[in-house]
């Protein structure tokens, strides 16, 4: 039995389109396609002008984040069997569109850069590596797995309104990953940079980020830990 899907895709080429529009495609699946990304690749063979990002096709690179039927996700992790006959695909919300499903992620990366996503440790480096106990290493679980796909930050209204000032769930998850790392020595400096009305405290805990994270991570929980650290630091 053939599986025919109706796929509506957001199209916008600033070089020739005055405004974005939705284009409807009918795609016949032959059973060899498992994920939405497979369908999109097949669709691109039908219409080579369609643009989207993709790379590893297995949920590691975080390139193919998009809004599918109203919810952000990675096309390579969305099983076609779990999607309805009519699939509506839009770019990640809140970021400027470069073309079709390709968004400009500069603002997202700028926020990531702000949290200094690297270990800061001025003590002389040991001969091999800075060691951690299994318990210390365990604290990084649920944090280090973030692949920076931006599904969480672009589903967060606080990030939509203040992408230049609110770090966003992804950046804050990463911030906590370095705050809690036993090898990092810049805890005070990191916390001082987060203690303003926007960077952390724009999070109102609505947990859209938790609902959409394709890796099953919990940025809201990490943000709560940062708040507690800021509170302990100040009292």
């Amino acid at each position: 039995m053939t599986d025919v899907r109706t796929i509506e895709v957001y199209r916008y080429d600033p070089a020739k389109d005055e405004a974005p529009y939705m284009q409807t495609y009918t795609l016949e699946l032959d059973g060899s396609e498992r994920m939405l990304l497979d369908a999109l690749i097949k669709l691109k063979k039908q219409d080579e002008t369609l643009s989207f990002r993709r790379s590893c096709r297995e949920g590691i690179c975080g390139s193919d984040g998009m809004n599918v039927n109203g919810k952000n996700g990675l096309a390579c992790l969305l099983n076609l069997n779990h999607l309805p006959k009519r699939i509506v695909i839009r770019p990640l919300p809140g970021l400027p569109v470069i073309r079709d499903l390709v968004v400009d992620m500069s603002m997202f990366y700028k926020q990531y850069e702000k949290i200094k996503p690297y270990l800061i440790n001025d003590t002389p480096a040991p001969a091999k590596e800075r060691l951690q106990s299994p318990e210390e290493r365990e604290k990084l679980d649920g944090l280090y797995e973030c692949i920076l796909c931006a599904c969480c930050s672009t589903s967060c209204p606080s990030f939509w309104w203040n992408p230049d000032r609110f770090i966003g769930p992804s950046g804050l998850l990463q911030a906590y990953r370095f705050l809690i790392d036993s090898r990092d020595q810049a805890t005070e400096e990191r916390l001082a940079n987060l203690d303003d009305p926007f960077s952390v405290f724009r999070c109102h805990g609505i947990q859209n980020c938790v609902a959409v994270c394709p890796k099953g991570l919990n940025p809201t929980k990490a943000i709560g830990h940062i708040r507690n650290m800021l509170l302990r630091r100040a009292t």
Binding site: K114, P157, S158, W161, N162, D164, R165, A192, N193, L194, D195, D196, P197, F198, S199, V200, F201, R202, R227, L230, L231, A234
Partner: protein
Amino acid sequence: MAVTAVTNLGRNGLSDWLVQRISAVILLAYSVFIVGYLVYNPDVTYAEWKDLMSLTCIKIFSLAAVMSLVAHGWIGMWGIATDYLTDRLMGPKGSVLRWLFLLGCAAFCFVYLFWGIQILWGN
């Protein structure tokens, strides 16, 4: 680099966050007290109500509730204004509208606080 803002209540995010939570607890306690009192005293007379509100401890509790509402309201309105009334969303008029809106909120908060104190502690 940390982001600064000159119009938020407590000069940093943590104090605003803390004030908002503490004021919410005070407002909840006050609401429970008032509703509880009215439920358990459905036939309360004006004289009884006035006596209750004249107790010093209730005056302090009421004043705490009024101040909590002002602080909670300002932080909330400041959050709304800096979300939606911005240059980023509205162009240069965003800042003008935000300042006008915040000015209105500040005037409202001031009148509310002044009036509340006058009702509670006036003759």
